[in-house]
Amino acid sequence: MTGSKFSFQLDCPVPKFDFDMITLGHGSGGLLTHRLLDAGVFTVFDNDYLREAHDGAYLDLQGKTAFTTDSFVVSPILFPGGNIGELAVNGTVNDVAMCGGIPKFLSLSFILEEGLKMDTFSTILQGVQNACLAAGVQIVTGDTKVVEKGKGDQVFINTTGLGPVHTKANIHMSRVRPGDVVITSGLVATHGIAIMSVREGLEFETVLLSDTTNLNGLVMELLDAFGEDIHFFRDPTRGGVASALNEVTKSIKVGIDLDQRSIPMEEGVEGACEMLGLDPLYVANEGILITIVQREKSDAILHLMRSHEKGKNASIIGEVTEEHPGQVVIRSTIGGRRVVQMLAGEQLPRIC
């Protein structure tokens, strides 16, 4: 079963609240909490698991299961191309998928700041539900806490996800071998630059949209078709492509050679990176994956990826080598070579 094969109606019930903003009472566990949950969470995410209204969900799991958790603190919470709710679902769905798992169930925990506008919360809930429908996952349990004004940043979300591992999946960093080919499923640095452009109030001529999306459909199709030939998946979120690949080279003592010219980027994103002095290889991604695959199958894998909506901009960006173990080395556009290090601290925009 793959997410992409579903055809969903993406309009979910709009929660109707009889209050304008979140107050401390909504986290009290009492009447206000129940009104918030009844009007919001239970209406929007309605399913058999939630209808049990228990302290947790009963799940029927068989076989090897992929299990992951992630917290989302993005600012701003509403950004061009998405919101924190969509991100919280897609991020965890993708983490399960990167393990070769078929994401099924998600928990959803909110930490809300007193004073959060209900309109905003409502938008986020719809973002969560739309992303769940698109990915084919269900929210089966959750929690809502409210903190005093000034003790949070409007909304923090934690999601935990799990699902059975695809029978053909054998995804382990240790399976990466010299000769393997490194592929990105799409354009690099799009999400991070979209967030930064609104966070820092930068006004570019073109509005840059986040590419946050689920990748489980793409992953499942790849595993269906190529199984063991897929050695490794990683969604290069924080720290970007550079950090994800450095984790590989440093963990299993291989080298990776990248080619700058083959790294796909949207022109507006590339321009923003140039202006701000940011290296796109370190910028966070939310809509792409990196896979490392058996060389002999790499062309066929690339072909399949490009035929899929989520992989239409896929590109072979490099290869694994026995040389320079522990290092990612990039060939520049003019043919020079340099080492791509792990990101140290936060990338800070330069002075001039």
């Binding site: 820092e200 109030g201 930068l202 022109e267 590339e270 321009g271 140039e274 701000l276 002095g277 320079h324 080395v329 060939r331 520049s332 556009t333 003019i334 043919g335 020079g336 070579r337 340099r338 080492v339 791509v340 290090q341 140290a344 601290g345 800070l348 925009p349 330069r350 002075i351 001039c352």
Partner: protein, 368 residues
């Protein structure tokens, strides 16, 4: 990307490198002034493509790197004050002062904001009339016009709660200081394209003449750099010492007159201490008397402090081109971007950080 990919063309770069190999007959040491040029040379792997006779020496043109400790301490002092919003370009935040960095002050509750333009700081001042907004005005001649303009703008808006902590440095006096140093090893210069976009090229003629060195105003892309190096080496091989302009698509002989007028309106030239190098006469800008009430030093009564440098950091030798970053015993071990001993390891344009992040593949640099 248009207007960039043309200057990152492998064929053009290789053509210039071929010409360069054809004319070079003996070793030459060429200093690229600007940190942006250093960054590009290392990031694009240009250094290991040059003929072995040519050594590039990485100059002092990284504003973060040459900002002295006592001014960083001043910024930290201001950021810790109850009523102050300290605005800074991102690069400056991680640079350690004698104790903490601005990033640490921010983490412990100081109101430190990253801005992309000083005019954003002016806007913040207008939005927060009960706060004092201080902009940490760091940079070479390149950022001086925008920083000056922020003062003019604040004055026009009648803002009483805006001021700048000026830490501006000037390229020509630093070149003079390097060339008159008895230990000088530099044969020729690539002057900083962006600085010259503002200031023009006239002020380099007397330097070229006095010290008999070729100076080529150069851009930042790989094609710019190899062409600039080729032009400098051509002069050296011929024995000429002219000021030439490789970056003609941006730089005019007289520079940007309007920008220079704004600078001279708001700033006056003063002696300045350069981190790792020492005091250079008439090498910096301070806020002029006319705009004195926008001078954070005066407004907050900041006294001059004597702050000793970390003796383990050889930034001065690196900035003067006497040592390469990886020749420092602490490079990549005790001194890393996460835990820098000195500023050149912090800024993305600092020579040490450039070597650390983009260490040339062929270079035997061990990074822990």
């Amino acid at each position: 990307m248009k207007y960039l990919s043309e200057y990152r063309d492998e064929k053009v770069v290789k053509a210039y490198l071929g010409k360069l190999h054809g004319i070079v007959t003996r070793p030459w040491k060429i200093m690229e002034i600007c940190g942006g040029q250093t960054h590009s040379l290392v990031k694009n792997g240009v250094l290991q493509m040059l003929p072995e006779e040519i050594t590039m020496v990485h100059g002092p043109g990284c504003p973060v790197c040459v900002t002295p400790l006592h001014i960083i301490d001043d910024a930290i002092d201001l950021a810790q004050r109850e009523n102050v919003i300290l605005c800074s370009f991102g690069d400056m935040l991680r640079v350690p002062g004698s104790g903490k960095s601005l990033l640490e002050i921010k983490a412990s509750g100081g109101d430190v904001r990253i801005v992309y333009s000083p005019l954003e700081a002016v806007k913040l001042a207008a939005q927060n009339p009960d706060k004092e907004v201080v902009f940490f005005a760091v940079g070479f001649e390149t950022t001086a016009p925008a920083n000056a303009l922020s003062v003019v703008q604040a004055s026009k808006l009648g803002l009483e709660n805006y001021s700048i902590l000026a830490s501006h440095v000037l390229v020509p006096p630093a070149m003079g200081a390097i060339l008159s140093d008895p230990e000088n090893v530099i044969d020729g210069f690539l002057a900083a394209g962006h600085v010259c976009t503002i200031m023009g090229t006239d002020e380099y003629d007397p330097i070229a003449e006095k010290y008999r060195v070729p100076i080529v105003v150069t851009g930042f892309e790989p094609v710019d750099l190899v062409q600039g190096i080729y032009m400098a080496v051509s002069q050296l091989e011929k024995g000429t010492h002219l000021v030439e302009n490789q970056y003609a698509r941006m730089v005019q002989r007289k520079g940007n007159e309007l920008a220079k007028e704004t600078i001279h309106d708001v700033f006056r030239t003063s002696d300045r201490v350069w981190r790792g190098i020492g005091e250079i006469p008439a090498s910096g800008y301070e806020v002029s008397e006319q705009y004195a009430k926008y001078d954070a030093r005066k407004k907050f009564g900041l006294a001059h402090r004597e702050v000793p440098e970390n003796p383990e950091c050889i930034a001065g030798q690196v900035l003067k081109g006497l040592k390469k970053p990886h020749e420092c015993p602490n490079f990549g071990t005790k001194c890393t971007p996460e835990n820098p001993l000195g500023a050149p390891m912090v800024s993305s344009e600092g020579a040490c950080a450039a070597y650390y992040h983009f260490s040339n593949f062929d270079q035997t640099v061990t990074v822990s």
